[in-house]
């Protein structure tokens, strides 16, 4: 079973440092960094039972194309009518000390002065930003005060996922950077060029709840 992520800004493909985009508030911007955690992936069956992948932690990074496709091994054979995952890292792994792999502090998605993972990191520039160098920087995370863990859930009822031993199934997701600044909370770079620790980070967390959509599903036959 494979997950694949394609990154866009609205209707345009994401190209780091190359394409100028416009946010919902009409401000232009460039993207330098875009990375986020996908974790605790679950596949839901019609009867409501689920398969939760053990040790399910992935760091998806636009700057590392290999990270945008990964294999989820050992998903049990069967028919699935839903899939969901956590955007971010569960509280347990935020209180368990030094980690490895996707959760290694080496990945620059971890706060050393206030223990916890950054769940979604977006950095870039915008002429509307009053920060030095016109920077825009959003490091959104934290599992308490506020809790910015969100879940992305998808119904596959009308487009079921069949996992068969001999099939290579995959779900292709699209992630929209523009949605970070859009709904339900309009974020203007002129007003809020950076967010890291403030309670207001929850506004962006509420926005990134909706930044994923399913583009296509490759599946076996029942």
């Amino acid at each position: 079973m494979q997950f694949q992520f394609t990154h866009v800004v609205g209707s345009l493909p994401l190209a780091l440092n190359a394409t100028q985009y416009t946010n919902a508030a009409g401000e232009s911007f460039y993207v330098k960094t875009f990375k986020y955690y996908v974790s605790n992936i679950k596949f839901i069956r019609a009867d409501g039972s689920e398969y939760a992948q053990p040790e399910s932690y992935y760091l998806v990074n636009e700057g590392d194309s290999a990270s945008k496709t990964f294999t989820i091994p050992n998903v049990p054979i069967g028919t699935y009518t839903g899939v969901n995952f956590m955007i971010g890292v569960d509280s347990t792994r935020n209180v368990s000390g030094a980690q490895t792999g996707a959760l290694d502090a080496l990945n620059d998605m971890f706060w050393s002065w206030k223990t916890g993972y950054i769940f979604v990191k977006m950095e870039g520039t915008s002429p509307s930003s009053t920060a030095s160098g016109n920077r825009i920087e959003y490091h959104i995370g934290g599992f308490q005060n506020p809790n910015n863990i969100r879940t992305a859930a998808f119904s596959l009822v009308s487009n079921k996922l069949y996992i068969k031993s001999d099939s290579t199934s995959s779900i292709h997701f699209q992630t929209d950077v523009g949605q970070l600044f859009q709904t339900p909370n309009l974020i203007k770079f002129a007003e809020t060029p950076a967010l890291m620790t403030e309670p207001k980070t929850a506004d962006i967390a509420d926005n990134y709840s909706d930044m994923f959509s399913i583009v296509s599903i490759q599946t076996g036959t029942p």
Binding site: G97, A98, S112, K114
Partner: protein
């Protein structure tokens, strides 16, 4: 740490002595198999530890590797600042004489370097409690631009290119690749073993070696229990809470609020342990007081009202803890019984390279 029968038996005859854990010299070959766990000793007058090292079993080699890293200045960007630069054993691993410490290029930090002692018994770390695990403590100092100003990536490059470290990590963790997790776990094996529990007070309360307190010290202890133990609770001498002890009407440093985003935490800082307090001057989060006398004068007559002043320091219209001059000197006599000369001179904890930067 597994509290085994063996450990419990040892607790009943707890004596801090080098003989319990015999360490080979830093360059000597150890004869101990790294898989042999030697556990953290839990002093019988301490509460249970928070960190038990279940997933990072302490070994002699691991402890020694952690010690080497603790005193390793190459963990900083300039190669000049080690953990041990600002955490010096003779001062219970505090930075005596510095209200705030000097990092790389003599940059000044923003808060007083706390003592390192009995970390395994603490749920949270730093003045604001921002760090929640003993393994993660070094990250803060390593990455802070005012302190060691170095990236994990650079540190791992340096260590992985160093044959000595390669060999030691192989011995301890059976790996050819030094990772950030293993660096942090090795350091935690050292810092977690920094137990201070052999002061005269400890021996007195445990009824060891016929140690007695003087009448003055006993009077101070009684006063302490009445007037200070609300916050400086248990034989760890802290309840691990965050409180505003009336230093400022308008705090420059928001303290705990920076972690919780809660305005009711403004100007609150962790209640520090008072162990070895005689040696950990200067005092408070910003090192504003140089002597214990100044600290007690603050509590007697210097406490300032503010919205978050701790209730324990308010009685009706008055603030602070009223203490006569005699009571103050008795209290200080008691506080000096918390000095642990075994801890501050323990040869197991010294810089194995003898290069610790004493600035």
């Amino acid at each position: 740490m597994k509290v085994t029968i063996h450990t419990l038996l040892r607790l009943t005859i707890f004596v801090v002595s080098v003989s319990i854990l015999s360490f080979s010299g830093c360059n000597g070959k150890s004869s101990v198999d790294p898989s042999t766990e030697f556990s953290l000793e839990v002093p019988s007058n301490f509460p249970a530890p928070v960190f038990t090292f279940a997933d990072n079993p302490i070994t002699e080699e691991g402890f020694e590797l952690g010690r080497l890293l603790f005193y390793e200045p190459r963990l900083s960007s300039t190669g000049a600042i080690a953990c041990g630069t600002c955490h010096r054993q003779t001062f219970a691993f505090a930075d005596h004489g510095h209200d705030v410490s000097h990092g790389v290029h003599d940059r000044l930090g923003s808060r007083n370097a706390p003592a390192i002692q009995n970390l395994a018994f603490q749920p949270e770390f730093f003045w604001d409690g921002g760090v929640n695990h003993i393994e993660l403590i070094p990250l803060n100092a390593i990455q802070n631009t005012q302190e060691m100003d170095e990236s994990l990536a650079n540190i791992l490059t340096k260590l992985n290119n160093n044959p000595t470290y390669k060999q030691k990590f192989k011995e301890v963790f059976n790996t050819d690749s030094i990772t950030s997790q293993l660096v942090l776990r090795a350091i935690a094996q050292f810092t977690g073993m920094l137990i201070s529990s052999n002061s005269r007070y400890d021996q007195y309360v445990r009824g060891e070696n016929n140690v007695q307190l003087t009448n003055t010290e006993k009077a101070g202890l009684q006063l302490f229990q009445q007037k200070c133990a609300t916050c400086h609770a248990t034989d760890l001498f802290t309840d691990h809470s965050y409180r505003n002890n009336g230093l400022d009407e308008t705090p420059a440093d928001y303290g705990r609020e920076l972690i919780t985003n809660n305005v009711s935490d403004r100007g609150k800082f962790k209640v520090p342990s008072l162990r070895n307090v005689e040696r950990t001057s200067p005092y408070m989060h910003d090192g504003r007081f140089t002597t214990l006398e100044e600290v007690l004068i603050h509590y007697t007559s210097g406490v300032k009202r503010s919205a978050t002043l701790d209730a324990a320091l308010i009685s009706g219209d008055a603030v602070g803890i009223p203490l006569t001059a005699t009571e103050q000197s008795n209290l200080i006599a008691f506080l000096r019984t918390l000095t642990d000369n075994t801890f501050v001179t323990d040869k197991r904890f010294i810089d194995p390279l003898g290069t610790s930067n004493q600035n």
